[in-house]
């Protein structure tokens, strides 16, 4: 793999923060912990890096302290570069938009346009932090260039449930013809079934993106789906590219829990962490996991720095979790630094960072409605 100077990667780190409010009160969607040692943004970032893209902008909104802390100089992703590298793009005040707070994708792009414009790249890949997927951009880029497309939408085939419409994060369902030409887009349609779900990832030629952003600015309509896909679809050459592997959308506490639990399945793990395409993340410098004399662990994903002296089943343990003697942990997602006290018994819990489950505590919840305990809380 060599460096591809022709592509600029952009990640919207906080487009759908509201859909996971409990966890994004303190952080952006991109810095939501996932899968034992990751943050959601590690997936789009690693997808870029593994595809040779070394110029990446991360568009943030608010509460981006944890994101800055996670990314640092970008060297854990090999993105501390002189040519390109990673840039965090916080909102800033403008005279025509007093608060500098964007509400949609194109609005956000307008805010950071000088950064995009400055790049020498011919193509821009836009990606979101709320999808967990391992995507190789090389073949998508190849299709985009060889077909002379203006926009290539990346979609996955999955089951869409209309019941999910209540979520603040809207789902976009796409339709393509037999030759993969874009036909139509529906937002939160009123049916359930297998459809082509937009992974909110796309390649756009930079000159096309420039037109789109400036016309959005003059018309005042900033929804990409509304103003482009639903009304001007015929103006541009838009094609689809199917991501045939695993993808998971995080749009609620339920789906967050489910996506974590999905990692207990070997096929899902192999699809998300294929050999030769590592998912990069901030290095934690923790010692390996220590299993004590009475440890009983089954079907669980466990990150470094954990010390386990009790029982753990069907769970995801982040770095530095401690499970004391006699404690029983089942169907849980325990984030960094969670301490599970001796002889406690917990089932279907999600704990944010540094939560303390007290000795002898009993919390039995259902996997349909896992109990969430906020950062630093006691249970």
């Amino acid at each position: 793999m060599s460096v591809n100077f022709n592509v600029l990667g952009l990640i919207f780190a906080s487009l759908h923060d509201s859909s996971l409010r409990e966890m994004t009160e303190l952080r952006t969607m991109g810095s939501v912990p996932f899968g034992g040692r990751y943050r959601l943004i590690d997936f789009p970032l690693s997808n870029f890096v593994n595809s040779g893209i070394s110029e990446v902008g991360v568009i943030t909104k608010h509460n981006y302290g944890s994101l800055l802390d996670h990314i640092g100089s970008g060297r854990d992703w090999d993105l501390a570069r002189k040519r390109g590298g990673i840039h965090i793009l916080p909102p800033y005040s403008r005279t025509d938009n007093r608060e500098g707070m964007y509400t949609s994708r194109l609005d956000a792009l307008k805010n950071v346009w000088s950064y995009v414009d400055h790049s020498k790249a011919k193509y821009v890949i836009l990606s979101n932090a709320n999808f967990v997927a391992t995507i190789d951009f090389d073949p998508i880029l190849e299709q985009h260039i060889s077909t002379g497309s203006d926009i290539t939408l990346v979609y996955g085939t999955g089951y869409y449930e209309k019941e999910k419409r209540t979520h603040p994060a809207k789902n976009t369902v796409l339709e393509f013809d037999n030759e993969n030409y874009f036909v139509s887009a529906m937002v939160d349609p009123d049916f359930s079934g297998e459809c082509k779900i937009w992974l909110e990832t796309m390649i756009v030629s930079k000159n096309v993106l420039s037109n789109i952003v400036s016309s959005a600015s003059s018309s005042g309509i900033y929804s990409f789906t509304k103003s482009i896909l639903q009304t001007s679809g015929h103006v541009y050459k838009i094609m689809g590219y199917e991501h045939k592997d695993v993808f998971m959308r995080i749009d609620s506490m339920q789906s967050f829990y489910k996506a974590n639990m999905a990692l207990l399945d070997a096929d899902t793990r192999n699809a998300l962490f294929p050999k030769g395409r590592p998912v990069f993340t901030k290095v934690g410098d923790n010692a390996p996991v220590h299993y004590g004399i009475d440890a009983k662990v089954k079907n669980s994903l466990i990150a470094d720095g954990c010390i386990i002296e009790g029982t753990v089943e069907n769970s995801i343990l982040f770095r530095g979790v401690r499970v004391a003697k006699g404690a029983v942990v089942k169907n849980c997602v325990l984030m960094q630094g969670t301490i599970v006290g001796a002889d406690s018994d917990i089932n279907a819990m999600i704990t944010d960072k540094n939560v303390e489950v007290q000795e002898n505590a009993v919390h039995t919840c259902s996997v349909q409605h896992p109990l969430f305990i906020g950062k630093g809380g006691k249970a």
């Binding site: 962490f273 590592p278 290095v283 996991v289 009475d294 662990v297």
Partner: protein, 408 residues
């Protein structure tokens, strides 16, 4: 001219580690894996960083490829610095010809110019093959307080073991009066840990002297050496220089042999051994592998063990240390063993009292090692060792004490 540094550390990493030969065929001893995710050199490097020493020269000679790549720009240990940082120092060619490092003192002698670029007051000399956590800044303070020319870190060892070490004899004030290498009848139990603090002007003088002296002896056909303990320390004592012993209390382990490497790993599982790798105030840094967290399967049984990220365990693991990316298939058993990165233990294979190197495959039904109680002749029992990149085929076995570095 670089910024002046009060302290420069010189890490002797050239050792071949011939007694670890199955594991050091292609890598220098300091690059030998230890403790699930570390390599031996992580300990002195992390100690330097945690002690506030930011300028380290690493002297390499034997099989430097893995070590060079591993150290890289020093970023994992926070030693990527604009001023100072970690520098790998292999032997080099000059106008008068090229020369290998001829002993520990000569290795430092050949790099006097490197040290002088930082104009230090103190030089810390370290080895690359000991496991311990130590605050060198306290030892330097001790050195300064005593107005010493050289301070040697010592540890109190059991009397029975004293004859394996370089032994320091001290007076009541801790001043070294004599030094004996591996004495038959030790007069003291204070063993040198191979960690020295020198006042640079003194060390420089004795390095130059030793070099001249040894070269003259060589020319005259006499025995000569360029060694720290044997030559520098002895000459300084002879000249009445001020040498102090700094007594270290804590865990310290020399991993010079395969048995001691195995023991040092087993120590990590023993709750009574005072080596805490989980202390956030004194982390041991290492170059991380970007692997997902470990997965412990439905049928797995893992107890009394240390397991690193990226591993997949479906079998039984007890009293063992598994490194990153190790696979233990369903029905496989690993006990009292060390399994290094990337190795696969297939279904039905048994590994007991063994060290298995990196990227090995132990096939179905194979057996490596055996517990002492199952071996007929106790004197003939020992740890079984499988070198790196070795395949032990289906049904084959590696006997206790056997050391293999080719496929069987």
């Amino acid at each position: 001219m670089n910024t002046k540094k009060r302290v420069v550390a010189m890490l002797l990493a050239g050792g071949q580690g011939s007694r670890l030969y199955a594991l050091t065929k292609n890598v220098a001893k300091p690059a030998v894996p230890y403790g699930g995710k570390y390599r031996l050199i992580d300990f002195p490097l992390s100690n330097c960083t945690n002690s506030g020493i930011d300028t380290v020269g690493v002297l390499t000679q034997y099989q430097p490829l893995v070590l060079n790549e591993y150290i890289g720009n020093g970023e994992p240990w926070d030693l990527d610095r604009m001023n100072g940082g970690v520098h790998v120092l292999p032997p080099y060619e000059t106008q008068s010809g090229a020369s290998w490092y001829e002993g520990t003192a000569n290795a430092i002698y050949q790099n006097i110019r490197f040290i002088e670029r930082y104009d230090p007051e103190y030089v810390v000399v370290l080895g690359g093959d000991h496991i311990y956590k130590m605050d060198y800044s306290k030892m330097i303070d001790f050195h300064v307080r005593n107005n010493a020319d050289c301070t040697i870190s010592v540890i109190d060892v059991p009397k029975a073991e004293a004859s394996r070490f370089g032994i320091m004899i001290c007076n009541d004030e801790g001043k070294v009066t004599d030094f004996v290498e591996k004495p038959k009848e030790p007069k003291s139990t204070l063993a040198s840990m191979g960690i020295y603090v020198f006042s640079w002007d003194k060390l420089r003088k004795y390095l130059i002297e030793n070099e001249k002296d040894a070269n003259a002896k060589r020319k005259a056909g006499q025995p000569w050496s360029k060694d720290f303990g044997k030559d520098i320390i002895t000459s300084m004592l002879r000249d009445g220089q001020s040498l102090f012993a700094y007594e270290f209390e804590g865990y310290w382990k020399d991993v010079g042999t395969l048995d001691s490497l195995w023991e040092a790993n087993m120590d990590l599982i023993n709750p009574n051994v005072p080596l805490d790798l989980y202390d956030p105030r004194w982390k041991i840094y290492t170059r991380s592998s970007y692997t997902p967290p470990q997965y412990i399967g439905e049928d797995a049984k893992v107890e009394n063990s240390m397991v690193a990220e990226g591993s997949n365990v479906d079998g039984e693991v007890d009293f063992s240390v598994l490194f990153a990316g190790v696979t233990v298939e369903k029905g496989a058993e690993v006990r009292y063993s060390i399994v290094m990165p990337g190795t696969v233990i297939k279904a039905g294979a048994v590994v007991e009292y063994a060290i298995v190197g990196e990227d090995c495959v132990i096939c179905e039904g194979a057996r490596v090692g055996n517990p002492p109680e199952k071996s007929g002749d106790r004197d003939d029992w020992g740890i079984a060792v499988v070198g790196h990149n070795v395949t032990v085929s289906e049904g084959k076995s590696v006997a206790p004490k056997e050391i293999i570095s080719d496929n069987v």
